[in-house]
Amino acid sequence: MIPAAFDYVRADSADHAIALIGEHGEDAKFLAGGMSLLPLMKLRLATPSVLVDVGRVRDLSYVRDAGDHLAIGALTRHRDLETSDVLAKECGVLRAVAAQVGDNQVRHRGTIGGSVAHGDPASDLPAALLALDATFVAHGPKGERQIAATDFFRGFLETALAPDELLGEIRVRKTGASGFAYEKFNRRAQDWAIVGAVAARVNGGTHVALVNMGATPLRATAVETALSQGASPEEAAREAAVGTDAPSDLNASPEYRAHLAQVLVRRALEAC
């Protein structure tokens, strides 16, 4: 399968990328690792007229300890996250979730920013970032702005990023080396999660986020509330499907997904 024809331009820097996307209009798309966009283009579900390749903007690839938080460049590859010493010490959950994305080959190419900007509710990292109260820093022609994770994921494959904005950095809380669990349920190795549950201890509380239980990654707020009121993991996990809108596909019905969410949240809470 070959994508529909497009023009290809390569950006040398974030500013150059924003200038190029401005020049080519709304049919242009940024290309990072291409692990989400290229499959869509091969299936002709996406037909951008121009690709602005940001894959070589190396100064957007880093994991830095920024004092009270961690700063992660949007073009940091999953492979670099799963082997990051800084993450191992300061945010083990993100390292562990990155190690569950796709397979080795995908993790050698795919980037955290690409995954986030694609906004797929079945992806692993967006839910983890939601659980971590991440802040997304977008660069656009008018400068930079910060977007809270809760405002970022708007709908299926839809985010708060404007077409001419480039995701530059992701900021997360320091949550330490332990105190988290990621339960990803799929039937075959390397598949997307049929349902996933991330639990992490953050600031004395427990945050829980769900993969593939709606049009966007979701916080399991009913579970979090129950926990804060003293519920046991088992009791709190019964609330896992509250407020969700699970999809129906070949793998699972919404009812089955709701059941999975409860089981996976319980396991995640017990392991967290």
């Binding site: 399968m1 291409g34 499959p39 299936l43 080795n104 080959q105 995908v106």
Partner: protein, 152 residues
């Protein structure tokens, strides 16, 4: 780009996939197209020594990089230890997935030189063998790891 140590220079359409470039422009047909949806790993090659799926990458993205395909693995008549191990342990049945398996295994052993069986099974999760010959493939990779360690 450099492919198997040789400089390659072609003008291609932006939408040319790396696997297409390798097979059609460079005439290196050892790299196979399997599922064509980045699931099966038959098209795995090394990009700057790391495994990637060449069906889900544009040739343009590899511009300037160093690509290694199955044809570039042997040193003259001497097979790479992973190739030898697949041969000796019957790590293949129909052979269609083999080039991708071998390249993924080379990358895996570069990252984890002394893997456990679980490391190998997890590390090759991006490669499917429709003959389901996984047992001997894993055995081959473990044997190669042992040989490469012994040679050090």
């Amino acid at each position: 780009m450099t492919v198997n140590g040789t400089a390659q220079d072609h003008d291609v359409e932006p939408r040319t996939l790396l696997v297409q470039y390798l097979r059609e422009a460079c005439a290196l047909t050892g790299t196979k197209v399997g599922c064509d949806t980045s699931s099966c790993g038959a098209c795995t090659v090394l990009l700057d020594n790391e495994s990637v799926k060449s069906c889900t990458m544009l040739a343009a993205q590899a511009d300037g990089a160093s690509v290694t395909t199955i044809e570039g693995l042997a040193d003259g008549d001497n097979w790479h230890p992973v190739q030898t191990a697949f041969h000796e342990n019957h790590g293949l049945q129909c052979g269609y997935c083999t080039a991708g398996m071998v390249m993924a295994a080379v990358s895996l052993l570069d990252e984890i030189p002394n893997p456990t069986e679980k490391d190998v099974r997890l590390g090759l999760e991006g490669n499917l063998c429709r003959c389901t010959g996984y047992h001997n493939i894993v055995k081959s990779v473990l044997a190669a790891a042992q040989k490469m360690q012994d040679a050090k």
